[in-house]
């Protein structure tokens, strides 16, 4: 694999060399394994926005979402030899992103335990995920100005991770129940139950917008 040798070549210059018909993810993976330096570029191009959006809704932190999305592709690149094509690549990459995001959430929890703010939290507040206010400007200014979007984003970020993952995958990323069950490595019934429970928790906080 000579992907890093193509640093000086732009993505747009590489794309004309790709075949006209859209290759499957498995074909791109195989091409990447065989040293096709443009194949992994195509994989990144296909999934970068969806993975970034998924991680952003999960973490409610754009910079952290971008960083973890990049780390997701790096992990995918170095684990291609161990990837089995009998599984859907989208499931595989979402599972890696989910694991990274959960690790980040738990790191935040440890940081929260070490902070003095945890001493003054009530029991009701302790059920809410630690989400420091992000004052940085997002790419879309309209998104910042949209109060409803802001409230929904905070409500999602406040969900426990076991409900947050399936709800975001289902209602924002549009994944099927089977895909979500495979990503979370859970049974289909457990997955549906968690989605329903997560929606119920959101309903309590978003009653005003229903």
């Amino acid at each position: 694999m000579a992907f890093d040798n193509a640093n000086s070549i732009g993505v747009e210059e590489l794309r004309p060399s790709m075949p006209e018909e859209k290759l499957s993810d498995h074909a791109l993976i195989e091409a990447t394994r065989n040293g096709d330096e443009t194949a992994f570029e195509e994989i990144v191009s296909r999934y970068r926005n969806s993975i970034t959006n998924y991680l952003y809704r999960f973490l409610n932190d754009y910079e952290e979402a971008v960083d973890l999305a990049q780390e997701t592709f790096v992990r995918v690149y170095f684990a291609l030899d161990r990837y089995h094509t009998q599984f859907a690549f989208s499931t595989y990459i979402y599972r890696i992103a989910t694991n990274l995001a959960i690790s980040e959430i738990r790191r935040r929890k440890r940081r929260k335990l070490l902070s003095l703010t945890g001493l003054f939290q009530t029991e009701e507040d302790s059920t809410v995920e630690f989400q420091p206010t992000d004052h940085r400007m997002l790419q879309d200014d309209e998104l910042v100005d949209d109060e409803r979007t802001e409230v929904i984003a905070r409500a999602i970020a406040a969900l426990p991770e076991k409900y947050r993952v399936p709800v975001v995958l289902r209602d924002i990323e549009g994944k099927s129940y089977d895909e979500i069950a495979e990503i979370m490595e859970l049974g289909l019934g457990t997955t549906k139950s968690r989605i329903s429970r997560g929606r119920g928790l959101l309903k309590e906080k978003l009653q005003h917008y229903l």
């Binding site: 970068r48 952003y56 999305a69 990049q70 592709f73 170095f78 999602i156 209602d171 929606r199």
Partner: protein, 266 residues
């Protein structure tokens, strides 16, 4: 809210509110990755890629060399420290020897034997360096060896065991008070004569009276200077020794002008 609908339930919604929540979430705007996303991914991959130019035998050699080097270092450290401690122990003696002025003419080995190293070390710190012999003599006078002249304190230097075995001699202060009437057994002859008032010296002819103390028993008995006292209470005074029996001095035999006369003293 909460109304069950079989059709919606088939779609995955257990209630109408749940569907509304799902629709509400679906209206969230999608976030896109930054423009340099692919470039950053490539950079991170290049940064995380292990460098294959290193020879594969190097880590193995390091694994073997690291404990070996550590063992050599520890052994060398202890060897060097032991050598350093040996040199360090001899260093103060060498420093004292170089600091002290060496005796030019008369080395004094016996004095050095009595001179503890501490005294010599203290002497090094004094501004005026004095010969070792003087220093030792001044600081340890009791330890100076005295070979020829025994002193009065010699008996006191006996050991404790010797003091237990040797009978103690009565000191002058501990002697019983002797009276003229009851002289102690073994009283020296000169002392007996002195008690009765005769100052006598032992000569070739025996005890010869040199003078007679006035108003004493001897003067009242008519003893004169030049008389030879031959016996006291029938005990002959033939030598310089003591009178064998307790003598009161009430009966003397005196030789005067070649004639022996017995005199009774009251």
């Amino acid at each position: 809210m909460g109304n069950l609908d079989p059709k919606k339930l088939e779609m995955g919604f257990e209630s109408l509110d749940e569907k509304k929540i799902s629709q509400l979430l679906a209206t969230m705007p999608r976030i896109e990755a930054p423009g340099d996303f692919a470039f950053r991914v490539k950079a991170r991959i290049a940064e995380a890629r292990p460098v294959n130019s290193k020879p594969m035998w190097l880590p193995t050699a390091l694994k073997a060399a690291a404990p070996l080097g550590l063992a050599v270092f520890i052994g060398g450290y202890f060897a060097a420290s032991s050598l350093y401690q040996t040199d360090d122990a001899g260093a103060p003696q060498a420093a004292i020897e170089t600091a002290m002025p060496a005796p030019v003419s008369q080395p004094a080995p016996e004095v050095m034997a009595f001179t503890p190293p501490v005294v010599a070390a203290e002497e090094v710190n004094t501004p005026v360096v004095q010969p070792v012999r003087e220093v030792a003599a001044r600081r340890t006078p009791a330890r100076r060896p005295v070979a020829s002249t025994p002193t009065v304190e010699e008996p006191n230097r006996r050991s404790f065991d010797e003091a237990l075995t040797i009978p103690r001699e009565p000191s002058p202060s501990q002697e019983p008070v002797k009276t003229v009437d009851t002289p102690a057994k073994g009283t020296p002859a000169g002392e007996v004569l002195t008690r009765i008032g005769i100052e006598a010296l032992f000569g070739e002819n025996g005890w010869k009276a040199q003078s007679v103390i006035p108003n004493t028993a001897a003067s009242r008995a008519g003893i004169k200077a030049g008389d030879i006292i031959e016996s006291v209470d029938d005990q002959d005074l033939t030598d310089l020794g003591s009178v064998g029996k307790p003598a009161t001095g009430k009966k003397l035999r005196v030789k005067r002008d070649g004639k022996s006369v017995e005199i009774k003293i009251d």
